[in-house]
């Protein structure tokens, strides 16, 4: 097992956001995490990366057999964990090329879509799609073992989504990198075909299903609110 989250409970701003999460991802495996707005998906991603804003009240996180629950964010990154943010902050005065140079663990990649962004200040006046390309570039530069993509498919048109998916497949999945796709719409799943799809509602993973198409169909039919009543419910 590469990532193991055990019975994780997390508070943020004095409120319980995650209420006992269990998640296991093997080496080289792609999984999906679906859920409605404010269900705790992005919080889980931030907690796995060690954002000090959130307080873990119970449970543990393991990565490659090592407990990382209290590890600093930068040390988790050094172990090979990476997160592509849904809404990354702007870094005024810091060009994307400058940031990539600082964080890069590899020099052997280029992304055609990213060329026009390199000499611009990171995320400053970037469109939604440009932010996603910038995030992908940074993730590739980190040479990770496990990547969480938080809503990488939002704000991308179909052509760009296909390009981004192909890049993830070629540069990460094909090289044995584990991937967790957090998605609201599920648009990226048809390209990356996760082995397991998890559904999160109200801070709990309420469903685990191998066939992502079934999950998408069920959500489309009943909505997330009725998900709990679904016969696919894993309990």
């Amino acid at each position: 097992m590469l990532l193991e989250v055990k019975n994780l409970k997390v508070n943020g701003n004095g409120k319980e956001i995650l209420r006992g999460i269990n998640l296991q991802i093997k080496r080289g495996e792609t999984q999906a995490l679906l859920g409605p707005n404010a269900s705790g998906k992005s919080t889980l991603a931030q907690v796995i990366l060690g954002n000090p804003k959130y307080k873990i009240t119970q449970g543990k996180i393991f990565f490659a057999g090592k407990e990382i629950t209290k590890l600093l964010p930068e040390k988790r990154v050094k172990l090979g964990i990476a997160l592509a943010w849904q809404s990354p902050p702007t870094l005024k005065g810091v060009k994307l090329s400058q940031l990539l140079e600082k964080i890069s663990q590899r020099k052997d990649f280029q992304l055609e879509e990213g060329k026009g962004l390199l000499e611009r200040e990171t995320n400053v006046d970037f469109s939604g799609g440009e932010k996603k390309i910038s995030e992908l570039l940074q993730i590739l530069a980190l040479k990770p073992k496990f990547v969480i993509f938080d809503e990488i498919d939002s704000g991308l048109d179909l052509k760009r989504l296909e390009t981004v998916s192909k890049t993830i497949k070629k540069e990460l999945v094909a090289k044995g990198v584990s991937v967790l796709l957090i998605t609201h719409s599920g648009a990226i799943l048809q390209f990356l075909k996760p082995k397991m799809t998890n559904v999160m509602v109200d801070g709990r993973v309420i469903c685990k299903e191998k066939d992502f198409r079934k999950v998408l169909k069920t959500i489309k039919k009943y909505g997330y609110e009725k998900c709990k009543k679904c016969k696919l419910l894993a309990g």
């Binding site: 954002n51 990476a82 964080i103």
Partner: protein, 309 residues
């Protein structure tokens, strides 16, 4: 210093190491110029002890470079500098003042007058790098003739223990000034006083301050624009506080003496964004590396626009 052969005036402690005069420019020690050119006395005000005199008489094809260094302990420099640019000339100047080592306890006092005659253009890069125990007090006055243009950037990433920086700009008719003060406070007491006088009709100017308070720094900036006639001016003062023992005080002052003038200001002091910090740490940078990168970005002003005519 690297590439010293191209330095036009180079002084170490009180000794002139090099004067490299080139076509179109007269470069002399200030005391010599006082004796040689009677007209210069009006600008020097009193007989100078040391410093440089640069008179750009014709268009030059090189950047004017000066370097004043403190290299011995407890040196006290008292410089008077004069730069005169004749009509219609475009000049770039790189002006470096520094301490060769960290613990010299030196004093660098500099008074300077810069005369930009009509239709001139000056890009003046003023770079300071001092030791932790130095005392530094530059006092510069720029006088801009008709249609002249000034881009002045003062950058001090390695500040002395005490810095008193005074800058005065007098903008003539249709002149434009773009002033940038970039100061990184590290264990320092810093006082910045800049005043832009819009004296000539349709003169305009933008003053930007970027101040960082780190490691027990006390920074005070009094930034003023005085519009005497129809003109436009803008002040943009920003401070970033890194540690809890530092303080930054920003005092913007706008004085409008003409109903046809427009002067504005924006000022803010803030701390480092937790979100930015966390983002960079999630890219593998340590907290200190992340702070340094955010500060570097904050202090970057290159490429920011001025008023466009």
């Amino acid at each position: 210093m690297k590439n010293v052969k191209n330095v036009n005036y180079w002084q170490v402690d009180h000794k002139i190491k090099q004067i490299f005069e080139r076509k179109g420019a007269v470069i002399l020690p200030s005391p010599t110029a006082w004796e040689k050119f009677k007209w210069s006395r009006a600008y020097f005000e009193r007989k100078p002890k040391e410093g440089y005199f640069v008179w750009i008489k014709k268009q030059v094809d090189f950047p004017l470079t000066t370097c004043i260094t403190i290299a011995s302990p407890k040196i006290s420099q008292d410089l008077t500098n004069l730069l005169v640019i004749e009509k219609g000339i475009t000049v770039k100047a790189n002006v470096i003042c520094n301490a060769a080592r960290d613990n010299l306890c030196g004093t660098h006092k500099a008074r300077g007058k810069l005369l930009l005659k009509d239709n001139t253009s000056l890009e003046y890069n003023h770079l300071h790098r001092w030791g932790e125990k130095d005392f530094v007090s530059p006092d510069y006055e720029f006088i801009l003739g008709k249609n002249s243009r000034l881009v002045y950037t003062y950058k001090n990433l390695f500040p002395p223990e005490n810095l008193q920086l005074k800058t005065t700009i007098r903008g003539g008719k249709n002149s434009s000034s773009n002033l940038n003060f970039i100061i990184n406070g590290l264990n320092s007491r810093i006082e910045v006083k800049d005043t832009l006088f819009l004296e000539g009709k349709n003169s305009q100017g933008v003053v930007r301050l970027r101040l960082v308070g780190r490691k027990n720094s006390q920074i005070k900036a009094i930034s003023k624009i005085v519009a005497e006639v129809a003109g436009r001016g803008h002040l943009d003062c920003r401070g970033l506080l890194i540690d809890k023992n530092s303080t930054i005080s920003l005092i913007p002052e706008l004085i409008c003496q003409s109903k046809d003038a427009q002067i504005t200001h924006e000022a803010s002091i803030g701390k480092i964004s937790e979100e930015e910090l966390n983002y960079l740490r999630q890219r593998g940078l340590s907290e200190e590396e992340a702070i340094n990168l955010i500060v570097t970005g904050f202090l970057k002003l290159e490429g920011r626009g001025v008023y466009s005519n």
